[in-house]
């Protein structure tokens, strides 16, 4: 059994990278990939903790649901990105700025 700290460290790194990606990358696809990183960081944590606490199922189930939800989210997200591409001929997320003070 690997020390838990390694998994948590990996998860944290993924989370930070995901956040960094989402904040810095302009391309919508990259942004969504950042989101995937974050979600998977959480999923990794769940699995690791579940395993560490005695092979529990609940954490693992959580991870599975996260994957499902990530897929659903991506579907809606891509739909919206298509809309954006239609209205603003670009998928640069910083382009749509008609709303705002």
């Amino acid at each position: 059994m690997q020390p838990l700290a390694g998994y948590v460290f990996l998860g944290t790194a993924m989370f930070v990278l995901g956040v960094f990606t989402m904040v810095t990358r302009k391309n919508a696809i990259y942004v969504l990939m950042g989101a995937e990183l974050i979600l998977n960081a959480a999923a990794l944590n769940f699995v690791a903790f579940a395993r560490y606490m005695g092979n529990r199922l609940d954490g693992q189930m959580f991870a599975i649901f996260i994957i499902i939800l990530a897929a659903a989210e991506a579907a809606v997200a891509l739909g919206i990105v298509l809309q954006i591409h239609h209205h603003f001929p670009s998928i640069d997320v910083s382009k749509p700025d008609r709303l705002g003070d």
Binding site: M22, V23, T24, P96, D97
Partner: protein, 725 residues
């Protein structure tokens, strides 16, 4: 049955008080009717006439018949009051019995009382006090008021606000009589202000003109200064004795004087200081009302009102109310306060007399003369001449009213008040001339005229006071004596400029004619009284001697402070000496007048040239007005403007911008780029607005900025959490 055994006098007194009030209401509420507009004088004449009759009745019973069956203060003391042999020295009664020995009648003892207010602490039971002072004042006021009413019928004839004039005369009579009758200091203050407001309206009666509104406002404001002092005095008195009832105040101070009680500690002052300060505060009221320097400035200007008003209010009655009030609370004044009063009186007597020497407006000369005579009265009261001062009040009321009405008659004839446009009117206005001459004699103090008696008593007291207090205190006496000369001089100058010599304005002279009887009859009556009011001590009026009737109350304040009897009296020798001295001074005054005006050797112009700086100062009225204008008036306006600016610019702004809290928050965003803010309410440029627009910068519309802010926010919250933990 004695008149004063039951409540009857109260009904008479109430009739005196309320009839003029009814007359005012009648004229005020029916002023639109034809009757009142044309015949607005009838009801007022009736009411004031009835009041005069009632006053006469009271006077007859109280003074002439001496029906003094009821003496609430000291039943026995009245009848065996210590005899005064002459001259009106006001020796206090024997120590130990500090109750007021004088006769007085109170309506409260007979159940006539009006509880005007009761807060649980302050209770004012308005009652009526009648004593010799009141009875005499009532008679003087109703008489002069009646005569002035009568005179005005003719004088104001044709004025478009004829009925309103009478309405205000009635209101004034009501207030003045209330002031006399009341037995409560706070109510006295009420009537005090009421006469002030009547005076205000009557001075400003011809409000379309330029001068009267200004003069009326000046009068009211000056009096307001005095009144506020008076009010503070009342507050102090209430603080000391817990009451404003004069009899109770007397009883309270009596207890202190007899050592039965002590004054409450206040400001850490001892009793003497406290009583003196209270007395002086109270005295500021009379100072303004009786036109004492430095609050005298309003009286000459008040001559802008109709002449009957000047005669009634600004010569005979209202201005004398100050003297009356000082007399009423005479027991309250400490020696220091009395000395102050004497000093003020002295200065007033001198200053006003000197201005009278140079003024050319007939009414203003008379006004300064009034001022000067009021100074005399105060001086007299201050030096302990209680009866002398009040006696002078009575005599002065008649002769000065006579002079003013006479001046009114002259003005009526020539339509000018400037004496330089008169002259030689003796032939045209014989009655006016003669009556005014008699009054002048009385005012000048020519022996056997009424004024002489009162004035000599004043001089006598001043001399004795100076004698007993040391050389520096002789000043009042010197002024009192010397002032007699000045008085005679300026009065003769007035007579000369008006009636003697050649007419200086031929046109006006030719159109002049004697006034109708409604005006001359009052003049004659008053001239008669100017001569004969001295007759009060005469046997046929009941055999009482004046000093007895106007005996001073025990000087409680002095006794309370450990000062004993004031001073003795001079006796016949002193009285005779004073008489001689006065005659000499009058002769000197006459000589001076004759030399200057009759013989013109040298003429007045020469004097003016010789005394140029002095003359300039005096004819500029000692620059009092300029001084006030430069200080108080200017200060007030400046303060008002500055505060108004402050209010609209600073207070409003600070409180508006839900304020400094918002500013502090703004510091984080705006680094105080706008310290002075105009407020949340103003749409533009408020703190919140500024803050809001800073916040708007965050709302860029760029998604990734938002994300960054959110991540930053997360970091911020984490740090916050760590900090708080």
């Amino acid at each position: 049955m004695d008149f004063f055994d039951d409540a009857t006098p109260a009904w008479y007194a109430l009739a005196i008080l309320l009839l003029p009030a009814a007359g005012f209401c009648w004229n005020a509420f029916t002023y639109r009717t034809e009757f009142t507009r044309k015949r607005g004088h009838i009801v007022p004449l009736l009411t004031i006439g009835t009041a005069l009759f009632c006053a006469l009745t009271i006077f007859k019973h109280a003074v002439i018949d001496g029906d003094v069956g009821d003496t609430p203060h000291a039943a026995s003391a009245t009848h065996d009051a210590p005899a005064h042999d002459s001259g009106g020295a006001d020796a206090p009664p024997a120590a130990g019995s500090l109750a007021d020995p004088r006769w007085s009648w109170s309506s409260k003892a007979h159940g006539v009382v009006y509880r005007i207010i009761d807060t649980g602490a302050l209770r004012i039971d308005a009652g009526i006090t009648i004593d010799h002072l009141t009875a005499t004042m009532l008679l003087v006021v109703t008489l002069v008021a009646f005569l002035v009413h009568l005179y005005s019928v003719s004088y104001m004839h044709g004025d478009k606000r004829f009925s309103r004039f009478f309405a205000f005369l009635q209101l004034f009579s009501f207030s003045m009589l209330g002031l006399i009758l009341t037995d409560n200091l706070l109510l006295l203050f009420c009537f005090w202000e009421l006469v002030g407001v009547c005076s205000y309206f009557l001075i400003g009666f011809w409000f379309e003109q330029d001068e009267p509104p200004k003069a009326s406002m000046k009068a009211f404001m000056t009096n307001r200064f005095g009144d506020v002092g008076f009010l503070i005095g009342i507050l102090l008195v209430y603080r000391m004795f817990g009451t404003t009832d004069l009899a109770e105040i007397y009883a309270g101070l009596q207890a202190v004087a007899e050592g039965r009680a002590a004054l409450p500690p206040l400001f850490g002052w001892e009793a003497g200081t406290l009583l003196t300060v209270a007395g002086l505060c109270l005295f500021t009221g009379p100072m303004a009302k009786s036109a004492q320097v430095p609050l005298h400035i309003w009286l000459p200007d008040a001559m802008a009102g109709p002449t009957p008003v000047s005669a009634l209010i600004h010569a005979a009655t209202m201005v004398a109310a100050g003297v009356y009030m000082v007399g009423r609370i005479y027991f309250f004044f400490t020696p220091t306060a009395l000395a102050f009063i004497a000093g003020i009186g002295t200065v007033t007597a001198l200053v006003a007399a000197t201005i009278g020497l140079v003024h050319n407006n007939i009414k203003k000369v008379l006004a300064y003369s009034t001022c000067s005579q009021l100074g005399y009265m105060m001086l007299s009261l201050g030096v302990g001449g209680y009866s002398a001062g009040l006696f002078h009040l009575y005599t002065h009321a008649f002769f000065k009213a006579c002079l003013f009405l006479g001046a009114g008659s002259v003005i009526h004839a020539v339509h000018t008040e400037d004496m330089r446009e008169m002259g030689g009117l003796k032939s045209k206005l014989p009655v006016t001339y003669r009556t005014m001459l008699i009054a002048t004699m009385a005012l000048g103090g020519v022996p056997f005229f009424s004024g002489a008696f009162s004035k000599e008593m004043i001089v006598e007291h001043a001399l004795m006071w100076g004698w007993s207090h040391g050389l520096a205190h002789m000043l009042p006496a010197i002024v009192a004596i010397g002032g007699g000369g000045l008085t005679f001089f300026y009065m003769m100058r007035l007579i000369y400029l008006t009636f003697y010599g050649a007419p200086r304005d031929q046109h006006k002279f030719e159109h002049a004619h004697e006034s109708p009887p409604a005006m001359t009859i009052p003049l004659m009556v008053l001239a008669f009284l100017s001569f004969f009011s001295v007759g009060w001590p005469m046997p046929f009026l009941g055999g009482h001697k004046l000093p007895e009737l106007l005996a001073a109350p025990p000087a409680l304040a002095s006794i309370a402070l450990g000062h004993g009897a004031d001073h003795g009296h001079g006796g016949f020798a002193l009285a005779f000496g004073v008489l001689v001295l006065s005659c000499l001074v009058i002769v000197f005054g006459y000589r001076l007048y004759k030399q200057t005006y009759k013989d013109r050797n040298p003429g007045p112009e020469v004097w003016v040239a010789r005394l140029r700086p002095l003359h300039t100062t005096v004819s500029n009225l000692y620059y009092f007005d300029e001084f006030y204008r430069a200080t108080i008036v200017r200060f007030s306006y400046a303060t008002a403007r500055v505060l108004a600016l402050f209010d609209s610019k600073v207070i409003d702004a600070i409180v508006n911008g839900v304020g400094t809290v918002g500013q502090l928050i703004a510091a984080g965003f705006a680094a105080f780029d706008r310290i002075v803010v105009d407020g949340l309410v103003n749409l533009n440029g408020t703190v919140c607005h500024a803050l809001g627009s800073r916040l708007r910068r965050l709302q860029t519309g760029n998604l990734q900025d938002y994300l960054a802010f959110a991540v930053g926010g997360m970091a911020f919250v984490t740090l916050l959490f760590l900090f708080l933990a």
